[in-house]
């Protein structure tokens, strides 16, 4: 190996050794690409009502519809091609997962690092609040907030953030607290640098590895939580169904044996969540100094 100097190449070389993790990562990338280019790869725009025909509704996989092409995964009650609906649904699920993950990461990391840096009363107040919240199940919090705020993308993301920021805060706090006691931070504090610089330049970069791990897992959790809320009828509006909403729409038809409306979106959802979790596991193992060779 000639250029293995950068931390990223070293990280990647180690990652590459776990074949399952590489497979999982390629699945995640593939699904993200499918979601991103949903409008190019789907045979149909499932949100355009003019495209849909009720003649085609609830048809089994392999049915050739009025559009003249084959519905490989069948159609849903509105006559949507399920494959297209899954691509578009993936887009919404990933969007929500990323947005919720990113916002909770920012809020949680800020709170946790501030608590560790400032200490005293502020630390007590923030961490008591976070601990209290961690003792309530996330699903219940999200449920309550969605019920209070009503339906919509922003409301849903706020609910997910409120349910999840505490995990980031706890992680950031733990890491920052350990770093705060080390000499290099003490030294930085002793210099005339402002607190803002010390936090941003010295404390934050050293707290990122555990935060990245939590972020991967939490994005998977956001996607799963969003699907659960949508399934309970508290998610996004029906016009732009996420994967959870697609599953929910198909549920009543399952009893009559039309399994595909619920099952295929669910399979897509699970592949995505499990793949993200496997990648997250591998990243965590690589960051864990106890497992270092």
């Amino acid at each position: 190996m000639k250029r293995q100097s950068t931390p990223f190449t070293r990280f990647w070389n180690e990652f590459r050794e776990n074949r399952i993790a590489v497979l999982a990562l390629s699945i995640v990338v593939l699904m993200a690409l499918l979601a991103l280019f949903a409008s190019f790869v789907s045979p149909q725009n499932p949100y355009d009502l003019a495209n849909l025909s009720l003649m085609d509704s609830r048809r089994p996989p392999g049915f050739v519809g009025t559009g003249g092409y084959t519905h490989w995964l069948g159609t849903d009650p509105q006559g949507r091609d399920l494959l297209s609906a899954i691509f578009y649904g993936l887009r919404i699920s990933i969007q929500i997962g990323l947005a919720a993950g990113f916002v909770s990461l920012s809020i949680g990391a800020a709170l946790g690092i501030l608590a560790a840096y400032i200490g005293g009363r502020v630390e007590n107040l923030i961490m008591r609040l976070v601990d209290l919240q961690l003792s309530f199940p996330a699903i219940l919090l999200a449920l309550v907030i969605v019920a209070l705020l009503g339906q919509g993308k922003v409301q849903l993301i706020s609910a997910l953030v409120a349910a999840q920021y505490a995990y980031f805060a706890r992680t950031a706090y733990g890491a920052a607290k350990a770093e705060r006691g080390k000499d290099y931070i003490e030294a930085a504090v002793a210099t005339p640098l402002g607190s803002r610089l010390v936090i941003l330049k010295h404390l934050l970069p050293n707290c990122t590895p555990p935060l990245i791990v939590v972020a991967t897992v939490q994005i998977a959790n956001s996607i799963s939580l969003e699907a659960t809320l949508s399934f309970l009828g508290l998610g996004l509006p029906v016009t732009e169904p996420s994967l959870g909403m697609l599953i929910s729409n198909g549920f009543p038809y399952m009893m009559s044996g039309r399994y595909w409306i619920s099952v295929y979106p669910g399979v897509a959802l699970i592949i995505l969540i499990v793949a993200i979790n496997i990648v997250g596991d591998q990243v965590r193992d690589q960051f864990n100094p106890r497992l270092r060779r």
Partner: protein, 324 residues
């Protein structure tokens, strides 16, 4: 120690007060329940009369104050939809939820601990590896999806078990229970499996980690040297040693399982508290929503309070940390 108890108790009361304020103001800030309670063809006089009777014409803070006073008297109001006291409504649904939760947590613990001990006892066997891989699935697959697949497989395709409802019940001390009847039992199997899977995965991991640790200790070496059979060692010594963290988690999980029951009950139309709250959110039945949230908050605050006290009893550092 007394100071610690008082401090934590005051904190718990503070949390409850804040929760009640948030829940109340949040719940009362959304939607207009009048449209649901009163039929559209009602006269204006009737509307005014109903609004007055429900106390919806008063300012919010007054409604909150009345609510708080009533709460302290144990009166959580009447459901807008069913027009019976909320406590009675929730109380009537509680046995169904409790039955489901207890059966799931109990069976998850028994099966999970056995599988976990095996996986920790023979970590290299392929059975153990299968168990661990399955437990990863149990963690990451959303539980509503598992419920759907259970219904599809066992109710729709195989037709072995019913897809929803509670089945025949038997009254014991005036409360209806499903588990004593064969029909009720067949209704409870699928939702119980659904609710138990996540806990099962967790119990497996806990028991496995504990077993792997304990099997390396001198206790086990001496027990083997004394000529005890492996089964006796596992049953008499190992099980006792790994049970402390498991029991702690068992207590913690009872609460969160009650919350997760919301999803399972909705899928299987199980007439418990979780189904009630989802239905109430859908029709904006405010008193039921508020009462449920307050009760859940109360449950969690109590559990946390008890856990804090237990830890303080066991570990003097916790007490001193609170005093300083």
């Amino acid at each position: 120690m007394l100071g610690f108890i008082i401090q934590r108790f005051l904190q718990a009361i503070g949390v409850m007060a804040v929760m009640s304020l948030i829940v109340f103001s949040g719940v009362y800030a959304i939607g207009n329940p009048i449209d649901i309670v009163i039929p559209p063809e009602a006269t204006q006089d009737l509307r005014d009369e109903v609004i007055r009777r429900l106390g919806l014409d008063r300012p919010l803070y007054e409604q909150y104050f009345i609510f708080l006073v009533n709460l302290l008297r144990g009166d959580l109001g009447r459901s807008f939809v069913y027009n019976i006291p909320v406590l009675e409504l929730i109380g009537g649904r509680l046995p169904a939820t409790l039955e489901l939760v207890l059966i799931s947590v109990f069976s998850a613990s028994v099966i999970g601990v056995s599988l976990g001990i095996y996986a920790g006892y023979r970590p290299e066997s392929w059975t153990a590896k299968t168990i661990m891989a399955a437990s990863v699935l149990g963690f990451s697959v959303p539980s509503f999806w598992v419920g759907l697949i259970l219904i599809l497989t066992f109710a729709v395709n195989l037709g072995w078990l019913p897809a929803g409802g509670r089945g025949a019940t038997i009254d014991i001390w005036g409360v209806a229970w499903s588990f004593p009847t064969l029909d009720g039992l067949s209704h409870i199997i699928l939702p119980a499996i659904n609710l138990a899977l996540f806990k099962l995965a967790m119990m497996i991991r806990l028991a496995r980690a504990g077993t792997r640790e304990i099997m390396l200790t001198d206790t086990i070496k001496f027990a083997r040297a004394a000529g005890l059979s492996e089964i006796t060692i596992l049953r008499q010594h190992l099980l006792k040693l790994i049970s402390i963290p498991i029991i702690t988690v068992f207590g913690l999980e009872l609460g969160s399982t009650l919350a997760f029951a919301v999803v399972t009950e909705t899928i299987f139309s199980w007439p418990g508290v979780g189904k009630l709250i989802i239905d109430s959110i859908a029709v904006l039945d405010r008193p039921v929503m508020v009462a449920y949230l307050i009760l859940v908050a109360f449950l969690f605050v109590t559990i946390n309070f008890v856990i804090d006290l237990t830890f303080a009893l066991i570990d003097p550092r916790v007490r001193r940390g609170a005093a300083s």
